[in-house]
Symmetry: C2
Subunit: 191 residues, 2 copies
């Protein structure tokens, strides 16, 4: 029978090898959380204590500037991980919010589980490294894009990278992700 942890198991084992003993130990430790649309999963100025695996739904990671304006940093659809890795790694207050854009079910991987995983999974360190690299590369690409691409370029790129986002996310969030106003995005689309 399909269960709540099928997808996270599938995702993890696509990165590292996990045997039955290992999985049996860890699968008992996961917690599951249901979020209503618009609910906040992580609040800025609090420490990000978990990594979240999205079972279903959609999350948005964003931050606010001094004037309270939001910038969408990342969108996380089902079957992917979400966290503020900077805050999580250092256990320092986060600058980000994580919010559900749809009713969302997440699997919670606590900091303790991660540390435990480094010890008890044969390839735990590798999993950690892979996730870190994934984040690092995400950041690298983002900086490059902001420097070298026009908003229109970034919009097109985003269509390729996250086709799901355009269908499911209000346009002003997409505009803030591209770092332009929603009026401007609307104009760009007419080209």
């Amino acid at each position: 029978m399909p269960n709540t942890l099928d997808y996270i198991h599938k995702t993890i084992t696509s990165i590292i090898e996990v045997n039955n003993d290992e999985w049996n130990y860890f699968s008992g430790l996961f917690e599951v959380k249901e979020l209503k649309k618009k609910e906040i999963l992580l609040h800025a100025d609090t420490i990000c204590k978990n990594i979240y695996f999205v079972n279903s739904g959609l999350l948005r990671i964003y931050f606010t500037d001094n004037n309270g304006r939001e910038s969408s940093f990342h969108f996380v659809p089902e079957h992917d991980f979400a966290t503020d890795y900077e805050s999580f790694l250092q256990q320092t207050p986060s600058k980000y919010f994580i919010q559900a854009l749809e009713d969302t079910q997440v699997v919670i991987i606590s900091n303790n589980m991660v540390l435990d995983g480094f010890k008890k999974l044969r390839y735990g360190e590798k999993l950690g490294r892979k996730l870190t690299e994934k984040y690092f590369i995400l950041y690298c690409k983002k900086i490059q894009a902001l420097y070298t691409q026009t908003p229109l370029d970034r919009y097109r790129e985003m269509n390729k990278l996250f086709p799901f986002v355009l269908q499911r996310v209000p346009q002003h969030y997409i505009a803030s992700y591209l770092n332009i106003s929603s009026v401007h995005l609307s104009r760009l689309k007419n080209e």
Copy 2:
């Protein structure tokens, strides 16, 4: 007597503890390289095989877009480390150039030395982690700045963070670091 490795020793031991045996082993492995002004230390599309410690002088890390325009990514003055960590970690082709803006002396830390350091230094892993975190945080801040700050804000911030840069770097490099044209930077300064 002062020698070439004094500063790198000082810098490393400010991050982790290194005893005499450890240092004696590693200090023999460093290589030193002299660069003339404008010389290229790392070329885009090649693999970044080393971490460089700047003994004296000044490096600029930059990349080019499709039209051949340069964006300055980072400036590295004496007594700090320079590398393309993305390329170095994964041993994949770099997107960056590293160039000397002044006559510069660097100490070369090869990939092999780094791997060796992880094993033979008691706190080698910690040193690696700290450097990774430093880069990660640098990237985080850069993204936040690009999203939430105006060019003028970024200029002021940069004055605080890298006071040395403004004195020693041609203004059009600073403009490209701020992601604006040199004409615009010139205008901003008159405020």
